[in-house]
Symmetry: C2
Subunit: 311 residues, 2 copies
């Protein structure tokens, strides 16, 4: 199971399709279009599209059918990074090794580029052509899943809670006061679930829905996606604790801003144990789903790659 090759192939599909997504928005204000393209082309592993493709393939379909839907999820992810990096949020200057959108296009330009990427994720998702085997009713459902997981019940609340989290830290030494540790862990679980896992789960669930999977299979894959998302964030915390900003292609902002992470709260070893437990739960959920065993094995391997591999 050559997962790096699968990831690379899937990322290449997305990278090839992205300029077309921006071109499809012809008539856009030129500078706005440039800011959108700048952030879309910044790269990244394109993990969400890969998971969506792999989930779709579990039900015997070919990933090429749902390329616009995979682009849509990546557009939503890109918007969230642009807005998270804003001076009024995390005030980040570097992302994926490049200057952040607002550093290049100004604060207003970055707010608008994010707004447009979010909105046009739905344009690309809803207005693109799909083969007839992708049914309109399933497309409607998939769009509803994307909106619900990215909105106030999901990703946006994760970011709102993340901003709150700074108050939990004793700024003097970067440690959480002991009596507030339970509260801090609860807050952190909320942040990881919504800020990261919700959109990853949406990508996996959308893949299953677009393949016409039944409700039970869809639920199992959504739960799998949620846990993979939580694992992914756990791995990010652990890497960030190592302070290796270069490897992540960003400033080591968690440490600098003294943010709550599992690594700072529980230590790297315990964070690793919790990550492994989440991975077991993810795979147990995947087991509950039907579909093709070989394609499910690929999803398992993808999950391991995302959690364990040096990113």
């Amino acid at each position: 199971m050559d997962i790096p090759a699968y990831m690379a192939h899937s990322a290449a599909r997305i990278n090839a399709a992205m300029p077309g997504c921006v071109r499809a928005l012809k008539g856009a204000h030129p500078r706005l279009g440039k800011a959108m393209a700048y952030s879309l082309s910044a790269g990244g592993k394109r993990i969400r599209p890969a998971l969506m493709f792999a989930a779709y393939e579990v039900f015997g379909r070919k990933a090429g059918d749902i390329l616009p839907a995979a682009c849509a999820v990546e557009m939503v992810h890109t918007y969230s990074l642009i807005h998270d990096d804003l001076p009024c949020m995390d005030d980040a200057g570097l992302r994926r090794g490049r200057a952040t959108c607002h550093k290049v296009y100004g604060e207003a330009g970055a707010v608008l580029a994010g707004d447009a990427l979010l909105t046009d994720a739905f344009t690309i998702l809803l207005c693109s052509g799909y083969p007839a085997r992708v049914r309109n009713n399933d497309l409607l459902k998939a769009a509803g899943i994307l909106a619900a997981r990215a909105g106030a019940r999901g990703m946006v609340s994760g970011q709102a809670a993340d901003l709150d989290a700074e108050g939990f830290l004793d700024r003097q030494n970067g440690r959480v006061i002991a009596r507030r540790k339970v509260e801090a862990l609860r807050l952190l679980a909320y942040i990881h679930l919504h800020k990261t896992a919700d959109l990853i789960s949406a990508a996996v669930e959308m893949g299953a829905v677009l393949a016409g999977a039944g409700a039970r299979d869809v639920a199992a894959l959504a739960a799998f996606g949620r846990d993979i998302g939580l694992c992914f964030q756990m791995a990010d915390d652990i890497l960030d604790a190592a302070g290796d900003g270069k490897k992540l292609g960003k400033n080591s902002s968690d440490a600098r801003n003294r943010k709550l992470t599992y690594a700072t709260l529980l230590g790297v070893a315990e964070a690793g144990r919790r990550g492994a437990a989440l991975m077991r739960r993810a795979l147990a959920n995947l087991e509950k789903a039907g579909g093709r065993p070989a394609a499910k094995a690929r999803l398992t391997a993808l999950a391991g790659y995302i959690y364990g591999t040096d990113r």
Copy 2:
């Protein structure tokens, strides 16, 4: 034709439904939910929902069918106001007679409230229940229209161009240098079309699409909506030129920020003549649509109300 009563009835429907839209997003971060509710409850005439309802009724339907769709358009409108008011954009402190969202919830809070309102406009639109006569295929089309008109080909580009427009003014005396007047008028037409008319047109077009209207009727109503939107912005320019910030419930920001408007470029009289020409074109387009004459007459009266009445 009691248009003020129709407007009031339609606004009351929306105002009654809005808290439910926010409640439907249970699990949202509490402060985020409050910021969303704060801006949604700030009032306004709810012109877009009224136009959507009236367009839907042209085809013999009852407005109550599409309440979630009307709320969705108003949520998109509300998000756009929150982001336009941000310090990095228009830096407005007052909106509809109240402190703007970022004055109450901070800059990050306002960015996130806008993001969530935009995203969850699609949640409410796509995940709400509708009577069976509202077909899923039409709902899919309506959601695509909303996304396309609100995105980079539409409203967001209008705001991006609006930010550019300040460069056209000689800051010394607030007048456009004569040789750049043609260019300024072209820019202004672009701003009005995208910043204002696109979403109003989307509201009207969505009403027709959700009623299952044919392509020709939908096109006629979309063109009508676009022109009404242009008229509406023209009227706003003229009112703003009168400098009556209190009446608009906001700071007289166009004058203060020396923004491009038809009133400042052409004078109030010529702006009024152009508005009247647009209104004639709007009504000619409405004439091309089929549907119930009485309901079309209501749409005509609504258009006049929106353009002519003291807002």
